[in-house]
C-alpha cells in the first residue's frame, strides 16, 4: 500500500514535470526576438544572415519545433542541459556555480522568516490588538507596499554608506545579512498571518473555551492546543512561499551584487537564452513540487488522522 502511494507520488511528479517542460518550451519560444540576432547586436557584431544561420545550426534552432523540443527534453533528462548562448558554458555548471548564493539567500530568508513568524504570530494571537499584533500587521502591509529593490537600496545607504557598519562587497557571511533580511520580510507576512489566523480559529473552539473556563492562561492554551492545528495552514503557506527561494531572489541579487541564479536568469532573458530559461523553469517547477511534497509529508506527520 505504502509502496503504491510512493509510486503514485512519483508518477504525479513525473507528469507535472513533463507538462512543465512543454509549457517552458512553448513560453520561451513564444517570446519575441531571435537569440542569434539579439546576441550579435548586443555585442556589436554583424547580424548578417549567414552568421545568424550558422548560430541557429550550432544551437539546433534550425530544426522543427517538435524536433527541437524532443531533442532538448532528451538531453535534459540525460543530464545535458546544453550550453548558454550568452556565456558559451554548460548551463548545468552555470547553475551549480550560482546555486549556493541563491540558496543561501533564499533558504536563509525562509528560515529567518519562519523563526520570526512563529513567536510573533503566537504573541499576536494571544493578545489581539496588542503591540505584537500591530507589528505583524504593519510588517505584512509594509512588505507588500515597499518594493524589495527600494528597501535594499535604503538598507545599503544606511548600513554601508552612512554607518559604514557593513562592507557591501566583502566576501563572508556578513555580506548576506541584508539580502536575507529583505527577502525574509517579504515572506514573513504571509507565514505569520496564516499561523495567527489558525491560532485564533483554535482560540474560538469549544475545548479552548473550556480550558480558559478552568482557569488556564489564554497564551498557554493557545500555544499548547493551537500549535498543531495552526501548523497545518503554515505548512501549506510555506510550500506556496517556497518559490521565493529559487525565483524570488533576483531583485536582491541584482541590488546587492550577488552572483546568484536569479541575476543570471535576468541577464539571459535579455538575449533570449532559450536553454537557460527552459532549464530555470524546470528547476523552479521541480523545487515547487518538492516543497509541496515536503508540506504534505509534514502535515501527515503533525496530524496523521487529518488526511
Amino acid at each position: 500500500m505504502a509502496l503504491g502511494r510512493v509510486l503514485g507520488e512519483f508518477g504525479r511528479v513525473a507528469i507535472h514535470l513533463l507538462a512543465a517542460s512543454a509549457l517552458a518550451f512553448l513560453i520561451v519560444r513564444a517570446m519575441p526576438g531571435d537569440p542569434a540576432v539579439l546576441l550579435l547586436l548586443a555585442q556589436g557584431q554583424a547580424a548578417d544572415p549567414a552568421t545568424v544561420a550558422a548560430l541557429h545550426a550550432q544551437w539546433g534552432l534550425d530544426r522543427s519545433l517538435p524536433g527541437q523540443y524532443a531533442a532538448w527534453l532528451g538531453d535534459f533528462l540525460a543530464g545535458d542541459w546544453r550550453t548558454s548562448f550568452r556565456t558559451g558554458r554548460p548551463i548545468f555548471e552555470e547553475f551549480a556555480a550560482r546555486l549556493p548564493v541563491t540558496l543561501t539567500v533564499g533558504l536563509g530568508a525562509f528560515a529567518l522568516a519562519l523563526g520570526v513568524a512563529g513567536p510573533l504570530a503566537e504573541a499576536a494571537a494571544a493578545r489581539p490588538h496588542g503591540w505584537q499584533d500591530r507589528v505583524l500587521d504593519a510588517a505584512t502591509l509594509g512588505a507588500q507596499a515597499v518594493p524589495g529593490f527600494w528597501l535594499g537600496c535604503v538598507l545599503i545607504w544606511v548600513f554601508a554608506v552612512e554607518l559604514r557598519a557593513i562592507a557591501l562587497f566583502e566576501a563572508g557571511p556578513q555580506r548576506y545579512a541584508l539580502p536575507i533580511a529583505v527577502v525574509a520580510l517579504a515572506v514573513l507576512g504571509p507565514l505569520a498571518q496564516v499561523y495567527r489566523a489558525g491560532l485564533r480559529e483554535v482560540g474560538r473552539s469549544d475545548y479552548v473555551r473550556a480550558a480558559l473556563a478552568r482557569g488556564a492562561s489564554r497564551g498557554r492554551v493557545m500555544v499548547q492546543q493551537g500549535r498543531r492545528y495552526a501548523a497545518l495552514g503554515l505548512f501549506s503557506t510555506a510550500a506556496a512561499e517556497a518559490g521565493t527561494v529559487v525565483g524570488g531572489t533576483a531583485v536582491v541579487e541584482t541590488v546587492f551584487g550577488l552572483p546568484g541564479i536569479g541575476q543570471f536568469v535576468v541577464d539571459s532573458v535579455a538575449v533570449r537564452d532559450f536553454f537557460v530559461l527552459q532549464a530555470f523553469f524546470m528547476v523552479a517547477v521541480a523545487w515547487m513540487l518538492l516543497a509541496s511534497l515536503a508540506a504534505r509529508l509534514a502535515r501527515r506527520l503533525v496530524a496523521p488522522g487529518a488526511f
Binding site: M31, P32, G33, D34, V37, L38, L40, L41, A42, Q43, G44, Q45, A46, A47, D48, P49, T51, V52, A54, L55, Q58, S84, R86, T87, G88, R89, A97, R98, F149, C153, I156, W157, A160, V161, R164, A167, L168, F169, E170, E253, T254, V255, F256, G257, L258, P259, Q263, F264, V266, D267, A270
Partner: protein, 489 residues
C-alpha cells in the same frame, strides 16, 4: 625615545606593504563571463579589464593605431602582418608568429563571432615576428578587423589563458569579481596598483558602493545619482562622450515616411540641443559618428522648423486651424517607439514629440520591451536606436549593416543604388585620407535620403574616489582598466 622610533619604524614596515597593495576597485555592470576569449563576448570584456589586447587598437581620438602589430600591408589577396618584438604574455613567454597563429586559428575555430569577422583563415609564418594572413572574406579595412575583440591575442596553457595586457588575473569568481595584478612582463614598465574588477549589476548600488568607499572607479553611473554624488566630499564624476550614438529610424515602407520630404522635415524639426539638455549631458549629433572620430561629419545637424514646414507643405500635408496637418483627409500622425533598456529614450520621447507636434505632426508614444525584433519585422513608424558607431575604429561597418539595401539590420528599408555604390567604393578604398573622404561622401547621400534621424552622442558618467581622481575615462567601454591606471597611495 629611540625604542619608540624603532617600534614606529617596525609598525610602518609591517603596514606599508598592505597599504601599497590596496587594490583599485572598479565597479561596472559587466564582467567577463569566462577567461577564455573564444567564449561568448569574453574577448571584449577581457580587453576592457586590462588583460587582453589586439594587434591594432582605437585611440582616444577614434583612430586605429598599431598595438601588438608594427604594421599590416596588403600582400596580393592576403595581408602581411609584422609583430612588435618586445611583447610578452603574462607568463613571460614571448608573442611571436607561432603564438599569434595558434590564437587566431583557435578563435576562428571555436568562436562564431571570430569567424563572422573573417570567415575561415590561414596564417602562414614568414619569420619570428611576421605572418601572412589569408581570410575567406574579403577585407578592406583589415586594421579595423584586427582591432576587434574576437581576434584578441592570447596563449593557452592547459586550462589557463595568458594575455599581453598590463594586468594578469590572479583570482576570478564568475559573475562576481576579477582580481588583477600588474603584469611584470608588460612592455611599458611602471608601478601599477593591483585592481579588483567587481560586477555591480544595479547602477544605484554602484553609486552607493562609491559613496561607501568600497568602489574607486564606478563606471557608467545613472544620471539621477549624480547630484547626490556631487555633494559627497572626496568624490569626482567625470563625464565623457562615448562612441555610442543615439538615433531614430524612420520606416520608409510606411506612410508618411515613404515620402523623402516628410523624412527630411522630421530631420530638420528636431532641436538636438534640447535633447541633450533633457538627458543632462551629451553632444549634438553631426551624423552617424560621434564627433571625435576622424571620419565624422564636421557640422552639427541643422534645425530649421520653417524649412521643415515648407517641405511638409510641398508634400501636400496642409496645416488645419489647430496646427495639425492633413492630406486627403488623413492626419499626419505616427507612433514613436522607445525602449526601456535605454532609459534616456523614455526621457527623450516626449521632448521629440513636442518638437514634431509644433510643425503639425501628431505623435503617439509607445515603449517596446523587444525593440530589435520589432525593428527587424518593420513593425514601427519611427523608433529610437543606440549603437556603437565604429566598434573596430572604422566607420564603414555600421553603414554596411544599417544602410546598405541588403544590410542585415536595414531597419528603415533604405534601398538606394547611389548609397550602395558608395559603399562598394568604400570596400576597395584603403588609403586613410581617401577613406575618410569616401565615408563623408556616403554620409552626405544618407542625409539627403534621411532614413534615420541622428540625434546625439550621449555621455557616460564615471565616478572616482580621491585615490584615482586623475583617471581619465576613454570614450569606449573597451578600455576601462588600462596601462596608465595609477592610484594616489
Amino acid at each position: 625615545m629611540i625604542r619608540l622610533l624603532f617600534l614606529a619604524f617596525l609598525s610602518f614596515v609591517a603596514v606599508a606593504p598592505a597599504l601599497a597593495q590596496r587594490p583599485v576597485v572598479v565597479g561596472q555592470t559587466f564582467l567577463a563571463e569566462s577567461l577564455d576569449p573564444a567564449q561568448g563576448n569574453a574577448g571584449w570584456a577581457l580587453q576592457s579589464h586590462g588583460l587582453a589586447e589586439t594587434l591594432f587598437t582605437v585611440d582616444r581620438e577614434g583612430r586605429i593605431v598599431p598595438n601588438l602589430a608594427r604594421n599590416v600591408v596588403r600582400d596580393g589577396e592576403a595581408w602581411r602582418i609584422e609583430l612588435r618584438d618586445d611583447v610578452r604574455f603574462g607568463d613571460g613567454s614571448p608573442l611571436d608568429a607561432s603564438a599569434l597563429r595558434d590564437a587566431f586559428l583557435r578563435s576562428t575555430a571555436e568562436s562564431a563571432r571570430a569567424r563572422a569577422q573573417t570567415g575561415r583563415i590561414e596564417v602562414e609564418i614568414l619569420g619570428p615576428h611576421a605572418v601572412r594572413l589569408r581570410t575567406e572574406q574579403k577585407l578592406a579595412a583589415v586594421e579595423s578587423v584586427l582591432a576587434e575583440f574576437p581576434l584578441v591575442v592570447y596563449r593557452v596553457d592547459g586550462e589557463r589563458f595568458h594575455f599581453t595586457g598590463p594586468y594578469r588575473a590572479v583570482e576570478y569568481r564568475r559573475g562576481e569579481m576579477l582580481r588583477l595584478e600588474p603584469n611584470p612582463h608588460y612592455r611599458v614598465p611602471a608601478v601599477r596598483p593591483p585592481v579588483v574588477v567587481r560586477r555591480v549589476a544595479d547602477t544605484q548600488t554602484l553609486a552607493l558602493g562609491l559613496e561607501s568607499g568600497e568602489i574607486d572607479i564606478a563606471f557608467n553611473l545613472a544620471v539621477e545619482t549624480l547630484p547626490r554624488l556631487a555633494r559627497r566630499a572626496g568624490l569626482t564624476v567625470k563625464s565623457t562622450p562615448v562612441a555610442y550614438q543615439y538615433m531614430a529610424f524612420l520606416n520608409m515602407a510606411r506612410a508618411p515616411f515613404d515620402d523623402v520630404r516628410v523624412r527630411r522635415a522630421v530631420d530638420l524639426a528636431v532641436d538636438r540641443a534640447q535633447l541633450v539638455e533633457a538627458v543632462r549631458g551629451g553632444e549634438v549629433a553631426t551624423g552617424m559618428y560621434p564627433r571625435f572620430f576622424p571620419f565624422a561629419s564636421p557640422d552639427r545637424r541643422p534645425t530649421d522648423p520653417a524649412e521643415a514646414a515648407r517641405l511638409l507643405d510641398a508634400a501636400g500635408w496642409i496645416a488645419g486651424a489647430n496646427g495639425q496637418r492633413f492630406k486627403d483627409g488623413r492626419p499626419l500622425e505616427f507612433v514613436l517607439t522607445a525602449y526601456p533598456q535605454r532609459p534616456d529614450f523614455v526621457t527623450l520621447a516626449p521632448v521629440l514629440r513636442a518638437q514634431l507636434e509644433r510643425i503639425g505632426f501628431r505623435v503617439r508614444l509607445e515603449t517596446s520591451e523587444a525593440i530589435t525584433p520589432q525593428l527587424q519585422a518593420k513593425r514601427f513608424d519611427m523608433a529610437f536606436w543606440a549603437m556603437h558607431a565604429a566598434p573596430g575604429g572604422d566607420g564603414a561597418y555600421v553603414l554596411e549593416q544599417y544602410l546598405r539595401s541588403q544590410g542585415p539590420t536595414n531597419f528603415a528599408g533604405l534601398a538606394d543604388p547611389q548609397i550602395d555604390a558608395a559603399l562598394d567604393r568604400l570596400r576597395t578604398t584603403d588609403a586613410p585620407v581617401a577613406r575618410i573622404a569616401a565615408l563623408r561622401a556616403t554620409e552626405a547621400l544618407v542625409f539627403a535620403q534621411a532614413p534615420v534621424v541622428y540625434l546625439m552622442t550621449p555621455v557616460w558618467h564615471v565616478g572616482l574616489s580621491a585615490r584615482v581622481a586623475d583617471y581619465v575615462p576613454y570614450p569606449s567601454d573597451y578600455y576601462i582598466v588600462r596601462a596608465d591606471l595609477r592610484a594616489r597611495d
